[in-house]
Each structure stands twice: as C-alpha cells, then as structure tokens.
Amino acid sequence: MQEQLQNQEEIQLFNHLPIISKFKDTLYGVAKWSQIIGVISMISLGISVVKLLSNINANDIATNAIGAAVGFLLFKSGNNLENGLEKYNQNTLQQGFRYLYRYFFISFLLYFTIVLIAIIVFIIYQL
C-alpha cells in the first residue's frame, strides 16, 4: 500500500515537472512514430505476400521481409517506451531503449551488407 502511494507520488512528480514533461512528450512522439513505422513495414510485407498468393509479380518480398523484421524491433521499442512512460516503469523503458539499440545495430549491419554487395556486383559488372 505504502509502495503504491509512493509510486503514485513519483508519477505525479514525474508528470508535473515541466522539463520532465517535455522529455516525456518528445519520447512519446518517438514511441508513436516508431510504432507507425513498424506497423507499416509489416503491412508492406503482408501486401507482398498477398501479391505473391494472387500470382502478381512480387519482386519486393525479400526486401519487405527484411524491412518487416527490422520494423518489428522498432515497433517493440516504441511499444515498450510508451508502456514504460505510461506506467513509469524503468524496466519497460530499459527494454524500449534496448530494442532501439538493436534496431540501429541491425539496420547498420543490413544497410552496409547490401551496399557492400552492390559495390562488389558493380565492380564485377565493370570488369
């Protein structure tokens, strides 16, 4: 009971400090757009699958599958950040930041692997 009360006080303090409130609003914005990007990337994969099943040319399915995997990380990050902010839960916030780090790390690996392959293909094509 006492812990709950203390937590309530902390939530009130957290919401009323203007600087913290600004930080919270900005992080909410990041969380919201992360979730939007994640959902769109998964919808794009869905559209590619529907195209494939409808015998329509779906060349972009591999790209969209990679995009959806990375987008899922971003969606999880946004979801955890939002929940962490709403419930003032440090563990959930930590998870959100961890997913954000994983998103950037995997994006970096994928991005530069693709670029490296493109450069190698270009060099081979030129030779």
Partner: protein, 140 residues
Amino acid sequence: MQQFDLEIDERSKANLLLAAHWAKNIAIGSFFLIGIVVLGSIFLGIKNSFVGNYFSNSQLSSLFENGILSVSLFLFFGILCFVLILYINLLLKFSKKVVSGINNNDITEITDGFRSLKSYFLITGIIMILGLIADIFSFF
C-alpha cells in the same frame, strides 16, 4: 543544467549510448555513401556517359544538347542530395545530443536529441505511408 538522476537509470543510459553509437555509424556511413555517389557522378559525367546515351535516340536528346534538361537534372540531383544530408543529419544530431546529455547529465540536451529522432522517424514514417499508398494502388 538540469539533473535527471531519477528518470533514466544506468541500464537505460547504457542502452541509449549504444543506440546513439550505432545511429552515428549509420549517419557517417550514409554521408560517406552520398559523397561517393556525388564524386562518382561528377567523374563519370551524367550527361555524357549515362543520360546522353540513354536518350540519344529519343526526342529528348535535343533538350540535352541545349543543356536545359541536364542542368535541371543536376539541379534535381543537388537538391535531392541536400535533402538527404538534412535528413541524415537528424540522426547524427540525435546521437551527438544524447551522448553529450548523458555525459553531462543534462535532460534538456537528451530531449533535443530525441526531438531530432522524432523528426527522423516522422519523415521516415511519411515516406513509408506514401510508399504503402503507392503499393496499394499498384493492385488496381
């Protein structure tokens, strides 16, 4: 300088620093790639090696000879590069501000960093929404 010991714990700070590190790597790599593309375009010569040959048998070739279309193309390419640099700069700004904010224990700087990340995600989101709409329209 604003203190925020209560709000972000050590683990979150560590994860944020890692996120900022990889975001910075992506931004620097992207700048490098833009540089390569720009230099490559200059050395190869868009007009002579690619566009000129591509449109050599079309009615557009006369426009290229007059230099109207090639100038427009260079202008478009320059504006595109500029916009791309601004877009990637948001990621670099996020990285710099978050690292500096964590090191100085300054929440306003971290907020600025996250504002840049929000703008970056907002632009990405809008581009993706437009792409999705185009994808849906490709069905019909």
